[in-house]
């Protein structure tokens, strides 16, 4: 049913063709705002793009905007990064790709499972058990650091102690926490800035013997970024109507089957977004990569920071590095965008 009949004058501007579409005025304003923001987004990228073709003197002499018009493009920065540095650019690139993809995939699997658990199942970890666990581990840490006990022994002893205490004292304490507390504990892991834990993490991997490997970075990134995935997925799962799963449970399907066959397919847009987010976070991380890497395991953000040497920022090299860092992530985003969009249709039709 359309609205009141069109009158003359400017009424047509604010009355849309159908109630579901935005009115022409709405559309114009929307396009204006969206266009403005697109400019805000694209202009710095354009600036980085042309800076990668500039000579140092073009940068120092004041703003030049247009290739070939204001200044002559030069390939010296590109040549330096790809030819002169060559292998030194390729290896960090490869490392970044491997580390990001691996840690994002692992975190997505673990995180979506945990998010589903937090959304649909009841957890009641007992406060007493948690306290005992922390105390046991604390004793183990003190033993390793203070008394020089080997860490496998200390860890085994701590776990044994924990199990023992839980069976005995642990039963006394009834008070328990809930799902929300677990979720909050997870996200609170993100609060402490990495600079505070960098050296202990370094020592941790050194003791385990993984210091020089990509595995150290992967494990660290998974642990550091898991909370975000868990939160995002938990939220999304909570917003799916529960009837679907309930009817399946009545029919006798196991929780794993439900998760795999019903919930996951519906959640594709969220999964895709979470994966992309994690990819971005691990692709661009600097401080942990700096400390945990050596020559062979360096990643790209280190290269960018390294362009600010004692001579001052080498804007042209930096621009090239920024550009080659963005390209794969953009490609991945465009690829995943299909999933996000396709997922929309399923979501739109359900219910």
């Amino acid at each position: 049913m359309s609205g009141p009949a069109r009158r003359g004058g400017l009424g047509w501007l604010v009355r849309p063709r159908s109630p579901l579409d935005p009115s022409p005025l709405n559309m114009a304003v929307s396009y204006a705002i969206l266009g403005f923001w697109a400019f805000v987004v694209l202009f710095p990228l354009y600036w980085v793009f042309i800076t990668s073709f500039k000579q140092p003197i073009d940068v120092a002499d004041g703003p030049f905007y247009l290739l070939w018009v204001d200044f002559q493009p030069s390939m010296h920065a590109w040549k330096y990064i790809f030819v002169d540095l060559g292998h030194d650019t390729f290896r960090p690139y490869l490392n970044t790709v491997i580390v990001s993809l691996t840690s994002s995939a692992i975190a997505l699997i673990l995180g979506s499972m945990a998010g589903y658990g937090l959304a649909r199942m009841q957890y009641r970890p007992r406060l007493g058990s948690i306290a005992l666990f922390v105390v046991s581990i604390g004793l183990a840490v003190a033993a390793v650091v203070g008394l020089g006990v080997g860490w496998p022994i200390a860890l085994a002893a701590a776990l044994a102690l924990f199990v023992l205490l839980v069976q005995t004292i642990g039963r006394r304490f009834r008070r328990s926490l809930g799902n929300d507390d677990i979720a909050f504990w997870m996200i609170s892991q993100r609060i402490l800035p990495p600079v505070a834990v960098v050296i202990p993490v370094y020592v941790l991997f050194q003791q385990i013997g993984l210091r020089d490997s990509l595995a150290a970075l992967v494990i660290t990134y998974v642990a550091v970024n898991l909370p975000i995935v868990v939160w995002l997925m938990r939220d999304f799962f909570q917003s799916i109507p529960i009837e679907l799963e309930e009817s399946a449970m009545i029919d006798g399907a196991s929780r794993f089957t439900i998760f795999r066959s019903i919930v996951l397919p519906i959640s594709r847009p969220s999964l895709a977004s979470a994966f992309l987010l994690m990819l971005i976070l691990t692709w661009n991380e600097y401080l942990l990569a700096l400390m945990l890497s050596t020559a062979n395991t360096q990643t790209l953000p280190l290269l960018i920071a390294a362009q600010n040497a004692t001579r001052g920022p080498q804007w042209w090299y930096m621009s090239v590095l920024i550009l080659i860092m963005i390209v794969p992530v953009v490609a991945m985003a465009v690829a995943l965008e299909r999933y996000i969009r396709r997922g929309m249709l399923i979501g739109a039709v359900k219910g």
Binding site: V59, T294, G312
Partner: protein, 500 residues
Amino acid sequence: MKAGIGQAGAVSALALLLAGGIALWSGTAAAQLKHEGVEATVMTFTGPQIAEPLQRRAPDFKELTGATINVVTVPFSDLYSKLLTDFATGTNSIDGMVFAPQWMGDYIEPGYLEDLTERVNADDAIQWDDVAPFFRDFSATYNGRIYTIPLDGDFQMVYYRSDLLDEAGLAPPKTWEDYIEIARTFHGQDLNGDDKADYGSCIAKKRNAQSYWMVISVAGGFLQSQGTGQGAFFNTEDMGPLFNNEAFGKALDIYAETTQYGPPDEINLDVGDTRGLFTSGRCALSVDWGDIGTLAIDPATSKVQDKVGAVILPGSSQVLDRETGQLVDCDAERCPHAVDGINHAPFAAFGGWSGAVNANSSDEVKAAVYDFFSYMSQPEQANEDVTIGITGFNPYRVSQFENLDLWLKAGMSEAAAKDYLGAIADSLNNPNMVLDLRIPQNQRYEQIVLDTAIHRMLAGEIDRDQAMADIETGWNEITEELGAEEQLEAYKATLGIRAD
């Protein structure tokens, strides 16, 4: 038949002899390679400065000695923490490093650096006596023992636009008052023909960057006059800071005044920015390390080729009387090294990139790494590298600035080369050079307390006296925390005042 066997026998005998000869020959040839099969890791910051010559010459070194040197780089601002983490945690994956001698204080006490005195004494090729006295006797030593091999000479100078000063009939600045005068004269004029007002003086004043060294460059001439061993940071009696008195106050006033004749965002400019400004012709004066000299002759970056002069850091005709804390006039006794009554104190800021060896590596690796640094420092290699801008190596050997040819070959005009090298020679040969602070945790003294107080003063948050009081309080607190006795011992050790 017999003849055939005989022939075969002769041929095989000959072949055997030949094979044996070749084996012997290659065996002896192999035995001549001193460090055959040794692999070592040397860490420095991501260049191309400093890292480039190391990476370029490593293959040559391998041919000569058989040792493989892997040059590993990390971003500059994190080199210090990366090295120390590797040593302190016992990882010891790094066998040698090219770093700032200023950091020595934190590395020697815990025993991370190898004492190189014996090796240097036994090494003729390095031509140790050719190294300028300051680097040889102070920068490379601690408590009388040698710990680093200098590869680069870092000290600050004043650069000026020779064409502008010539036109105005002005002499290069000898005192800081001269410097201010010249800056005032040229500030606001168009200095490079682009119709934009330019600046009298460009000094990098950004926080957490290099500006605290610039302050010390200004203050050195007021604080130290009796030679390097007198020190410019603390008095050697009781570790009292020398940065809260009339002399340092005057230096701060001068430093603040230069801001008036500089770019509008000078307190947010880093050395990269000020060098860019100077080489595009927008500054009449600047204070910097040796880089401007080599940047100015590069046609890709510079519009002031052949218009750049360099001069030793301006000094002062008044110095600090440490008893009274007052500024007093120079005389023969107080300022024995004064030139025309002006006390200059060139400042070896940062110390000059040098190579050092990890004491906890294996003996054969240590020998190989030492030989590598010796190789890099020998005049055949070093004298060529210091003329190439991209290496980041600045002159530090006497032989390097006596020979103009290399510099002319690099593109400097004769006048510019004489001028640049003259300024360097003046500074290097000056017995009153200021040694940068090298006591344990010197970064806390300089980079945190000093830098923050100076920047707050420049930003107008606090005034000059408050800044000096903050510096003194902050430094005393750190000294207390780390142990006044130990800090004093360390300070005296870096100045070469032997513990015996």
